[in-house]
């Protein structure tokens, strides 16, 4: 029993430490929509003859016009960097590192991409709005061989003040 308790605390510690110690998680619950569904389909549907195994097994899902609203009220007037990250533990994926998320925006935040378990910078500058709103067009790509059920993932937004 002691062992299971220890594992429980270790798991909780891992969850709590997901956002770096010097960063604070941003609340995105103001976003107009909380759940997005996007079908995973083959990236290459035809002319698959000359593909390497990576491209042959690539699945993509696209989520368009994803409006994210971040509560930045506590940081107005300060300079900060806003990041997006994906947890390494993604439900439905045997190896989440095989997942890549890329996006384009309307310009307030940067375009970019990242893999699960990593973070990418979206913004660097003075926080001037109480709620920062951006619309993302997002593409998810993953190797079909790494999927054992439907995927469910939750990007995390955090801020570093400097």
């Amino acid at each position: 029993m002691g062992g299971s308790m220890t594992r429980g605390w270790l798991l909780l510690a891992a969850l709590v430490s997901w956002v770096p110690a010097h960063a604070e998680r941003l609340d995105d619950s103001l976003s107009t929509q909380q759940q997005y569904d996007a079908d995973l389909v083959w990236k290459q549907k035809y002319n698959t003859g000359n593909l390497d195994n990576r491209e042959l097994n690539a699945l993509v899902a696209q989520a368009r016009h994803v409006e994210i609203r971040l509560n930045t009220a506590p940081y107005v007037g300060q300079r900060g960097r806003i990041f997006i990250s994906l947890p390494l533990d993604i439900r439905g994926a045997a190896d989440a590192s095989a997942l890549r998320m890329s996006w384009t925006t309307n310009g307030l935040f940067s375009n970019g991409s990242l893999t699960a378990g990593n973070r990418a910078r979206l913004f660097d500058g003075e926080i001037t709005e109480r709620v920062m709103t951006e619309v993302f067009d997002i593409t998810f790509e993953i190797d079909a061989r790494q999927i054992f059920s439907d995927l469910r993932l939750e990007p995390v937004f955090d801020i570093e003040i400097y």
Binding site: M1, G2, M5, G8, W9, L12, L15, V16, D27, D28, S29, S31, Q33, Q34, Q35, Y36, D37, A38, D39, L40, V41, W42, T48, G49, L51, N53, L56, N57, L59, A61, A63, V66, I68, G92, A94, I138, F140, A144, R145, Q146, I147, F148, S149, D150, L151, R152, L153, E154, P155, V156
Partner: protein
């Protein structure tokens, strides 16, 4: 320390519940897997989409002398099978070499050559070398998803039979299937 573990367990439960509640309001993406499994076979020229022809020319006076005759042009074969890790598949390549045997095309001739006189060698070993068995569903190879396999097969006529002269035409049919 009696009572220590229950206390710890309670704290674990409370903190865990707090994290769950915090996550419930976050933007979440659900990505259902809608990619249907696919298999694909290509035999011969991938662009022309015609039945590949293999020609053996036995010189006069050498018919049935046991000197093999190898076709000049190898035939490309490619097999694809892809599926998600949730539902992996196994594909089986078989060949039917009895349905359309090598028949003498000369009018009035009923001569034929069994396809067991024809063998093939593999360039890369992905599709193993072998000999036609004159069977309806001769097993050639099986592969698991999710990959593509290709090879070039060079066909050889054994030339061991004393046969009526003429032009013989037949057809073998490859089938790539998931049972």
């Amino acid at each position: 320390m009696p009572g220590h573990y229950p206390h710890t367990a309670l704290k674990t439960l409370l903190v865990g519940s707090a994290l769950w509640c915090a996550a419930a309001d976050a933007v979440t993406f659900n990505l259902p897997n809608r990619a249907n499994p696919r298999i694909q076979i290509t035999v011969g020229d991938t662009q022309k989409k015609i039945i590949s022809q293999v020609v053996f020319t036995v010189p006069p006076g050498q018919v049935g002398n046991g000197s093999p005759v190898t076709a000049a042009t190898p035939v490309f074969i490619e097999l694809l099978i892809r599926a998600s890790g949730a539902n992996p598949l196994t594909g089986f390549l078989t060949v039917n070499s009895i349905e359309k045997p090598l028949q003498n095309t000369d009018p009035g001739s009923s001569s034929s050559i069994p396809f067991s006189e024809v063998s093939w060698t593999s360039q890369d070993g992905n599709i193993p070398s072998g000999t036609f068995q004159g069977a309806i569903d001769q097993d050639i190879v099986s592969f698991q998803s999710s990959q593509g396999y290709s090879d070039y097969l060079t066909f050889t006529y054994a030339n061991t039979l004393l046969i009526e002269s003429g032009t013989y035409k037949g057809q073998v049919i490859y089938t790539w299937a998931v049972p």
